[in-house]
Structure formats: structure tokens, C-alpha cells
């Protein structure tokens, strides 16, 4: 799959932002006034910034509001609803915490759940696609949710929670890579089933439909950078999990905490790039490519 920057920015930043909103909704850290304002501002900037970035890849962003209509069947529509409801709920909760000195716990818990639901619905947009075996796994939502929770706890400064959550996210990441690498062959789809000719013999592409490229090849057959996938996996794993855990375990300083957050962010962005770049769409089979 073509790793569109808009979608990588969106899933990375929004995942982190909604993760932070989850912990703020639970009252972690227990802040008020200006400190709370800054926490909520960061969370909203990440969540809303990510959502805005996602509209950049649309052909017609001005019609994006229509995406709220099909929540009955479409995960993309459900994501839109969850995101708006989470932001409104957490906005009201933030008003109380920042300006009124009030902590409306129930509202915070509802907002926290909606924030997690947003991350879950985002992951389901990818998970639902049977055409992309590497995404069509239960580990995909597990990965999105565990990343969001780990990043959120890190940003919320919850060191004692962040270390186990980062360890959990690291484990899910490793499992995701392990299962994802086998997913395409395990799906049973090949050029034989794609053409229906597989039982007659070995099928080989003889001639493509056109000499140039097309939308399908640009969007679904992305092979650049796969050569370096293994190296990028190591880099992303070290940045997203290993380094932040190390920085959290040494005696606390604000500088190291900031470094841990930035390292985690860069690592997650790299992992998300690989999530798209390594995903193979079955339509590539028709072109003799994957």
C-alpha cells in the first residue's frame, strides 16, 4: 500500500492524542487550572491535528461532513462519530477541570471510553479489509490500542503505568510482525484463485493491460523501501519502545521524559510507515506484483 503521509500523520498523532485524552479523562495526572489547560491543549492538538491531516488525501474534502451518515455499515463513518463525540465530551470535561475547578468524573470516564473507541474504530477501517491480509488480523486493533495507551500514559507522565504499557505494546508489535509476515500466504489467495485458472496449471502473467502505470498500481503496489524493512523494524522498535523504557527507568528528569516522548513518536511513525508500505493488496496479483 502507498504510505500516504497524511494517513501516517493522522494515525500516529491521533492515536497519541486520544491516548492522552483517555488518561486525562481518568484524572491521570490529577491536574487543574493552567497545567490542566496545557495537557488538554496538547491532547487536542494531536487528536484534531491528526484528524485534519487525514482529510488531505480526500478527493473532495469539502464534502467530508457527509461521512457522518453511514455509521450503520462503515467503520470510517463510525470513526468520525466517535472522534467528534470524544472531543465534545472531553471538551466539556476540560472546561470543568481548567476553569471551574470541578472534576466531573462520570463525564471524564465516558470521554475516556469514547477516546479509546475512536482508536478502535480507526484500527477497524484497516482490519475489515480482507483484500489486505496483513491488516485483516485481530492483532491490528490490538496494536493500535496498545500503542495509543502506551503513548498516552507516556505523555501523561504516568511513569509507573507507562513502563508496563510500553512493554505490552512492544510485545504486540513483535507478534503483529510475526503473524503479518505469514498473512498473505495464509490467506490462500494467489494468481490461481484470482484468475480461476489455478487448477489448470501454473498461472503466470504474460502481458499487463497497459504499458504505463495506473491508480491501482500507484495506490496498492508499493515496493520502494521493502528492501530496508528489517532495518526499519529495528529502528522503529528501539525508538518506540526500548529507548523510552530505558529513559523512564533511570532517575526522572523532565529532559529525559521529553526525549522519551519524542523517541516514542518517531518510532511509532516509523512503525506506521511500515504498516502501510509492507501491506500487500491482493489486486497486485493480477499484475504479477505484490
Amino acid at each position: 500500500m502507498h504510505p500516504a503521509p497524511s494517513v501516517i500523520i493522522f494515525t500516529t498523532l491521533s492515536g497519541l492524542g486520544f491516548g492522552l485524552l483517555f488518561f486525562l479523562g481518568l484524572g491521570l495526572p490529577d491536574v487543574s487550572g493552567w497545567v490542566a489547560f496545557i495537557f488538554f491543549a496538547i491532547a487536542n492538538a494531536l487528536a484534531v491535528g491528526g484528524l485534519l491531516a487525514s482529510t488531505f488525501h480526500l478527493g473532495h474534502p469539502e464534502r467530508a461532513w457527509k461521512a457522518f451518515t453511514q455509521w450503520k455499515t462503515s467503520w470510517l463513518s463510525r470513526e468520525g462519530w466517535c472522534a467528534v463525540l470524544a472531543l465534545i465530551t472531553m471538551g466539556l470535561y476540560a472546561l470543568g477541570v481548567v476553569f471551574l475547578g470541578q472534576r466531573w468524573n462520570l463525564l471524564g470516564w465516558i470521554g475516556a471510553l469514547l477516546s479509546l473507541a475512536t482508536v478502535f474504530t480507526t484500527s477497524m477501517i484497516y482490519t475489515q479489509l480482507r483484500t489486505i491480509p496483513r491488516w485483516n488480523m485481530k492483532l491490528t486493533p490490538a496494536m493500535f490500542l496498545s500503542f495509543s495507551l502506551a503513548g498516552g500514559s507516556l505523555l501523561a507522565g504516568q511513569t509507573s503505568i507507562a513502563v508496563p504499557l510500553l512493554l505490552l505494546a512492544a510485545l504486540v508489535q513483535l507478534l503483529y510482525w510475526r503473524q503479518g509476515d505469514k498473512a498473505f500466504s495464509a490467506s490462500g489467495t494467489n494468481l490461481g484463485t484470482a484468475t480461476g485458472l489455478g487448477q489448470r496449471g501454473a498461472v503466470r502473467t504474460f502481458e499487463p493491460p497497459h504499458t504505463g502505470t495506473n491508480y491501482l498500481l500507484r495506490e496498492f503496489v508499493y515496493v520502494v523501501g521493502r528492501n530496508h524493512a528489517e532495518k526499519l523494524r529495528v529502528i522503529s522498535f528501539v525508538l518506540a519502545f526500548a529507548l523510552p523504557i530505558l529513559l523512564l527507568l533511570i532517575p526522572f528528569s523532565h529532559f529525559f521524559a521529553l526525549l522519551a516522548v519524542l523517541s516514542h513518536l518517531a518510532g511509532i511513525a516509523t512503525s506506521r510507515w511500515l504498516f502501510f508500505a509492507q501491506a500487500e493488496h491482493v489486486v497486485g496479483l493480477y499484475y504479477g506484483k505484490r
Binding site: 461521512a67 451518515t69 453511514q70 470510517l76 479489509l129 495506490e219
Partner: protein, 249 residues
């Protein structure tokens, strides 16, 4: 609405005969010709006369080689367009309701004024049947020539999809695959028509007729063959002398 109809009155679709298709791409050209100037936004091309041309097509013809365990390889031309699936994933993923499947005839269409161009329907289609038009920013797909098949301004003979009307080999057939007595349904049952990627669970309406088995060359091709055995087995004259001389060297 992007909820799929529980059933459709008819299942209009194509039957494509892989035995007959000669790979001439006439269906590709006629499809582009009709659909670029009728229903919806035109099918744009980018850099059409430059070094890297690309464009929107609703129908493309691939060519595959099949090598059986025994016998000679076979070349199969393979036209591919929207299969108007009964369980169309492209419809249910659409966030705006722009994608829909008609309850009356099962045709899958895009309402272009509602399409935001997010591309998710193309992601969900295993067949590559949907292409985002680069000029218009909306999703384009085969309409089964919905503006031809019911068009009473056209002579009756033309009220079939453009690709079917054009095919010089008669490799494309159009009809109601929901009616077991229709010509296309009979053709599918006689020739054991098949689904593409059945494991995807999309239940395509369009069917493909597999190529017939190739003739095998038997040992004796004609009863007169023994009488046609070569008369001169050994070269004579100059060639005979040359053969013997070269042999001795």
C-alpha cells in the same frame, strides 16, 4: 444507503468467455469512449502524450499464460471490470453513502456528488474494479452501462453494455444471472462458469467461462501419414558426398 439490499429483483451482469476472447482490447476502448462522455465525470488521462501516460479505465484486459503439468502452455486473455458482487465490500465501507447497490437490478453504482474520494472502496475491492479519477477526485467504476441498457433513445440492439456490443469475438454476454432460464445463466451452467477469488466472500455476479482444453497431438495424425514417409532418407549426390567427407574428418 450503504446497507446492501437483502436481495435484488434481478442480477444483471456479464459473462466473459475466456475461451473466445482474443485479447484485442476493443472492449477497453469502447468502454472508455462511451463512459467518458456519458454517465458522470469523464474518464481523465494524465500526461496522455508524454513519457508517463496514465488514465482512468473501467475495464482492462490482462493476459496470462497457463502451463499445465502435461501438454503445451495456453495463453488466456482476461478482461476484468466490476463484477457487481452480491456481497459488495465496496458498498458497505463507504462512509458517505455514495456507493450503493440497486435493489432492482443489482448494479453497483457511485453517486459522484456524494463521493469524497477517500479511496476506501477501492481498497476493499479485491478485483481492482474501482479507480479514483485524478482530475475529478471521485471514484469511477463500471456502471454496466446503466445509461445504455434502459435507454429507449437507442435502437434495441444497442441496449447492452458498450463492451458487449463491441466485442468482435462474441466473448462477452450480458443478461440476468438471477434468472436460471436466461441465456447467460444457461451458458454459465453448461460451461461451468466460475467466480474470481471466491475465498473473498464477495459473491460476484459476473461469471467467467473457463477456456476449453486444448487438443492433444496424437502419435498418428493421419491414416495416410505412413504413405507420406520421406522418400530419400540418406542424402545423395553432392550433399551425400559432403556428409560422408565431414563424417570422416
Amino acid at each position: 444507503m450503504t446497507q446492501l439490499p437483502t436481495s435484488t429483483d434481478r442480477k444483471m451482469g456479464l459473462v466473459i468467455d475466456l475461451d473466445t476472447c482474443v485479447g484485442c482490447h476493443a472492449c477497453v476502448i469502447s468502454c472508455k469512449g462511451w463512459n467518458t462522455e456519458n454517465y458522470g465525470a469523464p474518464l481523465s488521462d494524465q500526461d496522455a502524450y508524454g513519457s508517463n501516460p496514465s488514465g482512468t479505465f473501467l475495464n482492462r484486459v490482462h493476459s496470462y499464460e497457463v502451463q499445465p503439468e502435461q501438454g503445451s502452455a495456453q495463453l488466456i486473455h482476461f478482461p476484468k471490470s466490476c463484477l457487481h458482487c452480491e456481497d459488495a465490500p465496496c458498498v458497505t465501507v463507504c462512509p458517505t453513502g455514495a456507493s450503493y447497490k440497486r435493489a432492482e437490478d443489482g448494479i453497483v453504482l457511485v453517486n459522484e456528488s456524494d463521493c469524497i474520494g477517500c479511496g476506501l472502496c477501492a481498497w476493499s475491492c479485491p478485483y481492482g474494479a474501482r479507480e479514483l479519477d485524478m482530475a475529478e477526485g471521485v471514484m469511477k467504476k463500471c456502471t454496466l452501462c446503466v445509461d445504455r441498457i434502459y435507454n429507449e433513445n437507442l435502437p434495441e440492439v444497442d441496449r447492452i453494455p458498450s463492451c458487449v456490443r463491441t466485442c468482435p469475438a462474441g466473448a462477452r454476454h450480458f443478461g440476468d444471472l438471477g434468472d436460471p432460464d436466461s441465456d447467460v445463466s444457461k451458458l454459465v451452467s453448461e460451461r461451468e462458469g466460475m467466480d474470481l477469488m471466491p475465498e473473498m466472500g464477495t459473491k460476484p455476479v459476473n461469471k467467467y467461462l473457463p477456456p476449453r482444453a486444448k487438443d492433444m497431438i496424437e502419435e498418428q495424425i493421419d491414416i495416410l501419414a505412413p504413405l507420406l514417409a520421406p522418400v530419400a532418407e540418406e542424402p545423395k549426390g553432392f550433399l551425400g558426398w559432403l556428409d560422408k567427407t565431414l563424417e570422416k574428418l
